[in-house]
Symmetry: none
Subunit: 139 residues, 2 copies
């Protein structure tokens, strides 16, 4: 299970370091995909396979199902963690998540998320404001 929040930077070749705490659980090969709320999801290979199987069911069905599976499958990118512990993020994914140089790497249960630092700040601020109310609605 991934927990914690780290600030890392992209180098000139769109590579970013994986926090050392995540490396063992992520394994050598990871999948980077478009996530929800304008961030990127990073999965270990095994977790991705489960996700992909769900999406594949809809790849030729309704127009909406096709659209979503296209977006998530075509948006997925296989990346190997290099000897220095970095992964490569393709341009189209970087621009999808409006990633510049400074990024936040966050552990969220079975996946790792990549956020633009500014987007992360504003997002967490809004959530913090609503958290109390949301907790009550859950209870």
């Amino acid at each position: 299970m991934f927990i914690g929040e780290y600030r890392h930077t992209f180098d000139a070749k769109n590579r970013i370091s994986v926090p050392s705490k995540f490396r063992k659980e992520l394994g050598k090969t990871v999948i980077v995909t478009r996530g929800l709320d304008r961030c990127l999801f990073v999965y270990p290979l095994s977790a991705w396979k489960k996700e992909a199987a769900k999406l594949a069911e809809h790849s030729t069905g309704s127009a909406a199902g096709r659209g979503l599976s296209r977006l998530m499958l075509s948006g997925a990118s296989e990346a190997d963690v290099d000897s220095a512990g970095r992964i490569l993020v393709p341009d189209y994914l970087k621009s999808f998540a409006t990633l510049a140089t400074k990024a936040v790497v966050a552990g969220v249960n079975e996946r790792v998320e990549l956020w633009d630092e500014d987007a992360w700040t504003t997002y967490t601020e809004t959530i913090e404001r609503d958290a109390d109310a949301f907790a009550e609605s859950l209870a």
Copy 2:
């Protein structure tokens, strides 16, 4: 399984490079055919046979089934990947998908899709708008 998104260009002879990540799974001979949403589908020979069998079942059924199987079966074109990793796309397929020079090659589960770059951009933008809501309805 094909995943990822690549930007490639058609040369003056209607050939386009297959992304190196797709080559192994696509094999030497591929089938290019009309796809849904104004793009082209590219199948490895083995996957095409299964697809064609499914279509054949519907070729005498409902009007919609007949239409779809006509579209995909009559539009199918066999193409060999040449020594430089390119495939040849016939004119009628290029114009069906409004393909100009810049194209997007997208991996979607068991097939590869060819999109005009502009069409791809507008398509993904529309889907992204609906994606969050749709993802929630799936869960």
